[in-house]
């Protein structure tokens, strides 16, 4: 398992990270594929087929109690062969002020992910947004339609293959913008 701790992580963050890690590893074992601390934020990677179970486990855990879904979004890593897409969930325990970020990576061939709308009503539009921009298929979602873009659109615009600039322009080459 990949494990990494950011140098600026505080002792409290490391303690919380270890606490969540122990709970997750004891229940899910090898399905937890990575753990790290990004600037005081505990981050865990989870195998895609267990993502719903992990979210449910964290939500209903007696002590951790991540009952609040802060936000959720997709990320595209075209160079990351076999794991081109990532979904990122951020959960919050408001009483104890614990936060955690859960990631799951998947190949571009299979973008089916179990929905989290049965855990949080608020996941509905967040998942529609992730579908709209990246094309994730949330199985079990009650109403998976585009949300911000028009229904007729036939691509998912936040994917990296769609350049922002007009292809006919040559005065804005990527190398001038650090990409």
């Amino acid at each position: 398992m990949h494990h990494e701790i950011h140098p600026s992580a505080s002792p409290a963050a490391i303690e919380l990270h270890n606490h969540i890690k122990d709970a997750l590893i004891s229940s899910f074992g090898d399905d937890i594929t990575g753990s790290q601390i990004d600037y005081d934020f505990p981050v865990f990677s989870v195998a895609k087929n267990r993502i719903h179970d992990v979210l449910e486990f964290l939500k209903n855990h007696n002590d951790l109690g991540f009952t609040f879904l802060t936000t959720m979004c997709g990320v595209h890593y075209p160079g990351n062969a076999g794991q081109e897409f990532a979904l990122v969930y951020q959960l919050h325990n408001m009483e104890k002020n614990y936060r955690v970020r859960i990631k799951t990576f998947m190949a571009d061939k299979d973008l089916n992910v179990p929905t989290a709308t049965d855990l949080w009503l608020g996941a509905n539009w967040m998942e529609r947004e992730a579908f709209d921009f990246y094309g994730f298929r949330f199985t079990g979602h009650p109403d998976l339609r585009r949300i911000l873009n028009m229904d007729e659109m036939n691509y998912h615009p936040l994917r990296k293959e769609y350049a922002l600039e007009d292809a006919g322009r040559d005065d804005k080459e990527d190398k001038y913008f650090g990409r």
Partner: protein, 424 residues
């Protein structure tokens, strides 16, 4: 005389005669049949409707004046901010954040600056943090003025709106003095403030602090205990705390439902831990509670600004981060280093460290979060904005279904849904 009346009914409607003739069972059967075959009417509210204060479309299925079903359509002013941010240097993303919740742009600006500062590990001087607090609380007041006065307008109270709205204008004059802009402010810089407040700005702030409480308490007297206003807003568009949490509500709308979550207290930033203020909460989560929470927050913000002025530390108003903070103009013309940094910043050639950060501020509508992934380039690899409006507006149908159309308008204005933040 009486006999004539009965005869009239008999002629005009023989169904009534059947009903009164004693066959009760048949009458009930007819009534239930009518209910099943009831025709609903479809009302297209929006996208541009004078009562919705923004570009929102709701297709309402109406049973008379009762809303049976509501289906919102959003995205009318979608500008792909998250995509745009992937091609812009960090300092050029600030103007994008202006256009999220444009009623309180400075809070968005500061939230973005603090996100980048967290990524590059920059410690902002105390004075800059206090100056930021003043600006953020002024914009919170401006944001809440918009929301609360518009609730009053939607209940028919135009006077209060016109009376208090001019104070938003005074706040904009303060912003104008600090940064030169009024609405889309682009205020502050990565590392601090672009300049210290000048004399005129301070005198405007002092004048505001002196005169605004009088206006606010007059508005309060005019509206808060007004019988018509209370009848219209109490129990209108209510949401329970459980539902609000399930829908990921934050900010005044969550606090109105009784949950005391405020980012300023939970995860203090910009020295908020040094200020003494109260988080008001409601009980019912209805329009009246949302109004009341915002009213009280304005008073609390006034207190925070007064504390910030009283305890204002001396010192610099920006950190020493030459890669991100433009050097003084005279140095650019006379020093090599300054010229190089000026060029690199203006041309967007500053590399940032690799990393992932999430930073949240308490915006006018709740937790405004920036989730930034940097792969070490000059632009973000991915920037996701947690926009409170987008997240809580999805609860709108469940809050208005079963209520009257006029209550739906009030519910929307009391949730303070801002199209810019909703559609991003």
């Amino acid at each position: 005389m009486r006999a004539v009346t009965i005869k009239k009914i008999n002629i005009s409607d023989d169904k009534i005669m059947k009903g009164t003739s004693g066959n009760i069972g048949q009458t009930f059967a007819t009534a239930s049949q009518v209910t099943e075959q009831k025709d609903y009417s479809i009302l297209n509210l929006g996208p541009t409707h004078p009562a919705t204060h923004g570009i929102f479309q709701n297709i309402l299925t109406m049973d008379g004046e009762i809303i049976v079903k509501a289906e919102p359509t959003i995205g009318y002013i979608h500008r792909a901010f998250e995509k745009l941010a992937e091609r812009r240097p960090y300092n050029q993303i600030t103007p994008i954040t202006d256009r999220l919740n444009y009623c309180s742009s400075p809070i968005n600006n500061m939230g973005w600056h603090m996100t980048v500062e967290k990524l590059i590990g920059c410690e902002v001087p105390k004075r800059a943090q206090y100056l930021r607090v003043i600006i953020m609380e002024l914009s919170r007041i401006a944001d809440h003025i918009v929301c609360d006065t518009v609730i009053a307008v939607d209940t028919g109270a135009m006077t209060g709106f016109l009376y208090l709205f001019q104070w938003r204008e005074k706040i904009y004059e303060i912003f104008e003095e600090i940064c030169g802009a009024r609405l889309t402010t682009n205020i502050g810089r990565i590392g601090g403030m672009e300049r210290d407040f000048n004399e005129k700005a301070w005198s405007r702030i002092h004048a505001f602090l002196k005169e605004f409480p009088k206006a606010l308490s007059e508005f309060d007297k005019l509206v808060t205990r007004n019988r018509i206003f209370m009848d219209r807003t109490i129990n209108c568009g209510a949401i329970s705390a459980e539902n609000a949490l399930a829908y990921s509500f934050t900010g005044p709308n969550l606090r109105a439902a009784g949950v005391d979550y405020d980012v300023r207290v939970m995860t203090p930033y910009s020295s908020y831990e040094e200020f003494d203020f109260t988080i008001p909460v409601g009980t019912n989560g209805d329009t009246y509670d949302r109004y009341m929470v915002r009213m009280e927050e304005m008073w609390q913000s006034m207190g925070i600004i007064e504390q910030a002025i009283k305890n204002m530390p001396d010192g610099k108003y920006h950190a020493e981060v030459p890669e991100f903070y433009l050097p003084p103009k005279e140095d650019v013309y006379s020093k090599m280093e300054a010229l190089i940094y000026q060029f690199k910043i203006v041309m967007g050639e500053t590399d940032v460290p690799k990393g992932e950060v999430y930073h949240a501020v308490e915006g006018g509508n709740g937790e405004l979060g920036f989730y930034l992934i940097s792969d070490g380039g000059r632009t973000p690899y991915r920037l996701h904005m947690r926009r409170p409006c987008f997240i809580y507006y999805q609860a709108y149908p469940s809050m208005i279904e079963g209520g009257m159309l006029s209550d739906a308008i009030l519910t929307m204005s009391s949730m303070n849904v801002i199209a810019g933040e909703l559609d991003a």
